[in-house]
């Protein structure tokens, strides 16, 4: 089964085309790093997959169910059902500042009646343990470092038991010395064969942790292949330049 299938996806802001005829297929267990310069459309693509951006045309299938067909979306309820298979982590964490870590984790599954309270409590503890933050379970978000906030955000997304995780520049807002702890958590997830799409500028991490690289430029997919094919052996001038500048 394809976890995500994207066909001929198009989106523009006024006259600016940000996504041009995107096609993409994501297999179970794929870890795909989405690379490219700013403004290339990588965040917009990721956000389209989880309905944070409306597309103008094309199809999106999540686990073979259409989220969008020719730019037409299903009902809110149906969309919520499809999107519940996915979790998302943002650049700026977006933790709920008025709730402590435990409440941040438990709110969504509790409202969705995913399990009873005792079970969710246990799950919250286990998930926090996994990201190494069990001792912060009663802390308010403003008492955490950036790296800790991002790990809580990942734990919060995992509470919904997603099949697919989307990461939108998860380390871009962090001090350099804090990116490691977040990347380690993502690495752990890849070892558990979580299907993931990661928009990132961490080329080293992409090379080592991703099995596929999607390279975007000007709203097009310029390359899609293994890290060796894309980063080391590309014949494309645009990609060559990009990697030469960064590494």
């Amino acid at each position: 089964m394809e976890m995500i299938k994207v066909e001929n996806l198009k989106k523009s802001y006024g006259s600016l085309e940000v996504l041009r005829d995107i096609n993409l297929s994501v297999e179970k267990g794929d870890v795909i790093a989405i690379l490219g310069s700013s403004g290339s459309g990588k965040s917009t693509l990721l956000r389209s997959l989880i309905d944070l951006e409306k597309v103008d045309g094309g199809n999106i299938y999540i686990e073979d169910i259409p989220l969008c067909k020719d730019g037409v979306y299903p009902s809110k309820k149906e969309k919520r059902r499809i999107l519940s298979r996915m979790g998302m982590v943002f650049q700026h964490f977006n933790l709920f500042p008025h709730m402590n870590v435990r409440e941040n984790l438990m709110l969504a599954p509790k409202l969705a009646k995913q399990a009873d309270k005792a079970e969710l409590e246990k799950m919250a503890e286990a998930t926090l343990k996994k990201v190494g933050l069990l001792d912060k379970i009663d802390a308010m978000p403003n008492k955490l470092s950036g790296g800790q906030k991002q790990r809580v955000a990942i734990a919060r997304a995992l509470m919904r038991k997603p099949d697919i995780m989307l990461f939108d520049e998860p380390t871009s807002a962090l001090d350099p010395e804090l990116t490691g702890e977040v990347l380690n958590v993502i690495r752990d997830l890849s070892r558990e064969h979580m299907t993931m799409l990661i928009v990132t500028h961490e080329i080293g991490f992409a090379k080592e942790a991703a099995n596929k690289i999607l390279f975007m430029d000007g709203g097009y997919v310029l390359g899609f292949g293994t890290p060796e094919e894309i980063i080391e052996n590309t014949e494309n001038e645009r990609m060559k330049n990009f990697f030469a500048k960064i590494m």
Binding site: L52, F90, N94, L95, H98, A108, L111, M140, A157
Partner: protein, 216 residues
């Protein structure tokens, strides 16, 4: 007239002042919140109507609005007799509530705009419905952001209540003025000032405590 006679009278005036204050707060804040929802709703017609309401309420003197409700409404052509509010306190309170609701609507709207768009996005990707997002995520943050401004507004209100004197109610100011006339002595004014100051100060403390309790 001695101090022991007029202090209890002023105390009764204080009670009326406080009654007006609480009635106004209790009704104008929820009404203001409803106006905020209409003002920020997707309907352009509702936005315009609420915008116009706020323009009128903030753009004209509260005293004029009090006179309008108490003295003016009965003269409305054809339906005047149905709009007659003979109880002075009720008439005054209605004017206060309508006026303060407009201010609270703007304050809450400001708070709403200050909530980061990322909060809506996080709620959405976690599968919260629109109403769950509004009540569990957005409103608590909006209230927290609005709290210092609400505090300011409440302190203005406690002093604005003195306007009710104009339609003949025996609030703290009215009682004080009567005492000054009788005693030909300004000390009652000083005591009244002290009473208002105490009420404002207590309010300040209450809101400080609320801000601390809901800090994040």
């Amino acid at each position: 007239m001695t101090l022991s006679q007029w202090i209890p009278q002023m105390g009764e005036g204080c009670l009326l002042t406080l009654k007006l204050f609480f009635v106004t707060i209790v009704f104008s804040m929820p009404l203001g919140l409803c106006l905020t929802f209409l003002y920020t709703s997707k309907s352009a017609v509702l936005n315009k109507i609420v915008g116009f309401y706020i323009l009128i309420m903030r753009g004209t003197p509260l005293l004029l609005q009090i006179f309008f409700v108490y003295f003016g409404l009965p003269y409305t052509p054809f339906i005047g007799k149905y709009l007659t509010i003979s109880d002075r306190f009720t008439a005054g309170a209605i004017a206060f509530i309508l006026n303060y609701a407009a201010y609270f609507a703007e304050i809450f709207r400001g708070g709403l705009l200050s909530v980061d768009v990322g909060q809506y996005e996080a709620a959405k990707v976690l599968g919260l419905t629109e109403s769950q997002t509004r009540f569990k995520i957005i409103l608590p943050q909006m209230f927290r952001i609005a709290l210092p401004v609400v505090s300011n507004e409440a302190i203005i209100l406690i002093k604005d209540t003195a306007l009710i004197t104009a339609i003949g109610l025996s609030d703290l100011l009215k009682v004080t003025k009567t005492i000054v006339n009788k005693t030909t002595n300004i000390s009652a004014f000083v005591v009244a000032a002290f009473f208002y100051l105490i009420m404002s100060y207590v309010l300040t403390l209450v809101f400080k405590a609320l801000e601390k309790k809901f800090s994040f």
